[in-house]
């Protein structure tokens, strides 16, 4: 069993959960952004995200998972689940831009940073300071321990710095970020993991260049970060030099369950889009199409149940190794099936390129949704990596020997 992190708060009683739900529902009816699905410019989308986050902060719904000392914090997982369910039900925008800040950056700072770092960075998150993650590199996709981005410690009159050179990829919305959670290699002599150091980098530091990645469906959700003699003060290091691998684990384990519950629920609501398609194309009396739709509906229902159970198990502290991998793969395959059925039933109409909706995975632009679905089978530990985890850690099938190279 994995102990649930920071989730030891008592389960809240039903009455206060109901109150939370109805309050939020009322608030959302009055405050949820309109027209966000029609935004066609990515910068404008980022700005709408920033505004929406600040609005949620103000209302006390942005960081329910933070401790009670923070405004809106101190809520247990059960309450967090209610909040995500209501946001999904209201078709409010997902929190893409701030997500990394309030989960990954927060968890890293909260668990591993020193007092000074916490004081500087945690309150700023609630004021809109935005973080990105500089972990993945070209050539080291799922093999995080293989990163090459090099940092050399150099003395400067104002204090030692790390001079960083290298490249990071797949950094979510890094083009809008103020700060970066950066993994660098400070030693190539030790074991791969032992040479990694964790830095907090200001994105405005000279030598930092960000280039949005043009995605195949026309989105710009990710960026590359080029680092050319970037000087990061040693005071910006989290943990000791060479201890970055352990800090990174805190970053990476900060979230999984709530997002997939939210996304599953949103996909469930979006099954209505398939119904519309079936009606619009006159497939309503095609028994094969009805069966295919029925199979999809049941698959999505099952993924919702799975995501819910996963979170319940987390709440109950009985999560097992590999559970998160199962939820991720099950969700991502349902997402692929959802979009593939839409592409198929939509016929030629789906091959005409239409504007995409930023920040949603089930938009009814079926080709865009199809391409977007790869983000979940590839990013965040590819489907293949998850299968390895399930086979080796859950089914206890033997690993391949480590030293096994060509």
């Amino acid at each position: 069993m994995i102990a649930a992190q920071g989730m030891t708060l008592p389960v809240t009683d039903q009455a206060s959960l109901d109150t939370l739900r109805s309050d939020l529902r009322t608030w959302l009816a009055a405050n949820k952004p309109q027209g966000w699905r029609d935004i066609t410019d990515h910068k404008a989308f980022a700005e709408s995200q920033r505004q929406w986050f600040l609005k949620l902060v103000e209302a006390g719904y942005a960081v329910p998972h933070w401790p009670a000392e923070w405004p809106g914090g101190g809520r247990g997982l059960t309450e967090q689940k209610v909040i995500y369910e209501e946001l999904a039900a209201a078709d409010a925008p997902r929190l893409l831009l701030s997500f990394l800040s309030t989960y990954h950056a927060y968890a890293t700072l909260h668990e591993c940073a020193n007092a000074e770092q916490k004081a500087r960075y945690l309150p700023a998150i609630l004021e809109g300071e935005t973080w990105c993650q500089g972990f993945s590199e070209p050539g080291a996709g799922s093999d995080l321990a293989g990163i090459k981005c090099k940092a050399e410690r150099v003395s400067r009159p104002e204090g030692d710095v790390y001079v960083v050179n290298g490249q990071k990829v797949w950094s979510t919305m890094a083009q809008y970020a103020d700060m970066c959670l950066l993994l660098v290699r400070t030693s190539t002599e030790k074991a791969k993991q032992a040479g990694i150091t964790y830095l907090l980098m200001d994105m405005k530091t000279p030598g930092v260049t960000v280039r949005p990645i043009e995605q195949i469906q026309g989105d710009e959700e990710f960026a590359e970060i080029f680092l050319d003699n970037v000087e990061v003060p040693v005071s910006q290091r989290v943990g000791e030099e060479g201890a970055g691998w352990a800090v990174a684990q805190a970053t990476l384990s900060s979230e999984r369950g709530l997002t997939l519950l939210e996304l599953s629920n949103r996909m469930h609501s979006a099954l209505a889009r398939v119904s519309e398609l079936i009606r619009a194309h006159g497939h309503g009396d095609d028994r094969g199409v009805l069966r295919d739709f029925g199979a999809l509906v049941t698959q999505v229902d099952a993924v919702c149940a799975l995501a819910d159970r996963f979170l319940e198990n987390r709440i109950a502290g009985i999560e097992r190794v590999g559970d998160a991998s199962i939820v991720k793969n099950a969700y991502s395959r349902a997402l692929r099936a959802y979009s593939a059925l839409g592409v198929r039933l939509g016929g030629i109409a789906e091959q005409y390129r239409a504007p995409i909706t930023f920040g949603d995975l089930n938009t009814g632009n079926w080709m865009a949704d199809f391409m977007n679905s790869y983000a979940w089978t590839i990013a965040g530990g590819s489907e293949e990596i998850q299968r390895n985890i399930i086979a080796e850690r859950m089914l206890e099938m033997p690993r391949e020997p480590k030293g096994w190279t060509l």
Partner: protein
């Protein structure tokens, strides 16, 4: 209240993992002694009133050992009798069944016509009717109790590929039959029984699927080829992982729907049963392949699971049927 896990534990103790295809009569006796026939029966009828998911928890464990005793058909008949309007001798009959008298409900279609108090036609899907003195027949004519010793009643065994169960047709030729629910009441009974049926067939399937996957993974760990355990070959590992995912997904839907079965639309339960049985099929189909030659021999157990999965796919409505119904329901939503 008794936790589901306690029921599971008691079932596993009575029918330990790996001891597959236990003797039918002994199993039936044991099931009755364990009180498993009481689990889903309302308390006012002398049952434990623990609900469908409680019965499901037991059936799921028994599915792992390919239980040969007809617990499911008996629980369906009990559910039908319990939901029927009061009739003369109802309480006594229920009590006798709970004590171990086997009365099954048919789990396949009945093509019968009523004439006064008699029925004629064929009732399919009566499991282990050789153990029964009477049966509950559900058909479009309503629900009838039929005494197997009555004139015009004949049992015909229908040998199955699934060797873990015995199935009979009932040929009725102007046989006396006691109507316990007709018309609107029949529809109510149908839905009540269907809810139980889908939960239990799904439970049996997921138990069997889980045992099959365990068996397969263990086999791969032990069996060597090219000087390594098969379980070290990544292509096989990934297939096992995918099977594990499929199983966990189906289990999650089962648990959610079984817990809410009393109020769930029948189509939701039917679709859930469809997914569970199809997952059983998927896992057993690939399990045989993953075993290689030994999986094709009668003496190695894996084929029994595959054959049971194939039969489960057809019980209480096929996968195609429930997929279509689920699609229609979602389209109408």
């Amino acid at each position: 209240m008794i936790e589901l896990s306690e029921l599971r534990d008691s079932a596993t103790k009575a029918f330990p993992a790996g001891a597959i295809l236990p003797n039918r009569e002994e199993s039936w006796q044991l099931a009755a002694e364990m009180g498993w026939l009481l689990v889903d029966l309302p308390e006012d009828l002398g049952g434990l009133g623990l609900g469908r998911d409680a019965a499901g928890a037991i059936v799921q464990e028994l599915g792992k050992v390919l239980c040969t005793a007809p617990l499911i058909p008996a629980l369906l008949a009990l559910r039908g009798l319990a939901s029927a309007p009061d009739f003369d001798g109802k309480a006594e009959l229920i009590e006798r069944i709970c004590g171990g008298e086997y009365v099954p409900l048919n789990m396949l279609s009945a093509k019968v016509s009523a004439n006064g108090t008699t029925l004629s036609g064929t009732v399919s899907g009566l499991f282990d009717a050789d153990m029964a003195g009477q049966v509950l027949v559900g058909s479009s004519e309503g629900y009838h109790l039929v005494d197997l010793a009555a004139p015009g009643v004949q049992l015909v065994e229908r040998p199955l590929w699934d060797e873990s169960r015995k199935l009979y047709d009932l040929e009725l030729n102007g046989a006396e039959a006691r109507l316990i629910a007709g018309g609107n009441q029949s529809a109510i009974l149908h839905d009540e029984i269907a809810r139980t049926a889908h939960v239990l067939v799904a439970a049996d399937s997921l138990g069997g699927a889980s045992a099959t996957l365990d068996l397969t993974v263990e086999y791969l760990k032990v069996r060597k080829q090219f000087d390594r355990p098969l379980a070290m070959f990544q292509a096989l590992k990934h297939r096992c992982a995918d099977l594990r995912i499929a199983l966990t997904v189906a289990e999650a839907l089962y648990e959610a729907r079984a817990a809410a079965a009393d109020s769930a639309p029948v189509v939701d339960l039917g679709a859930m049963k469809g997914l569970a049985t199809d997952t059983y099929r998927l896992i057993t189909e690939d399990a045989i392949q993953l075993h290689g030659g030994i999986g094709l021999t009668q003496e190695y157990p894996v084929h029994h699971y595959m054959k049971r999965a194939m039969l489960n796919l057809q019980l209480c409505g096929s996968l195609d049927h429930w997929r279509e119904q689920a699609g229609r329901a979602a389209l109408a939503a």
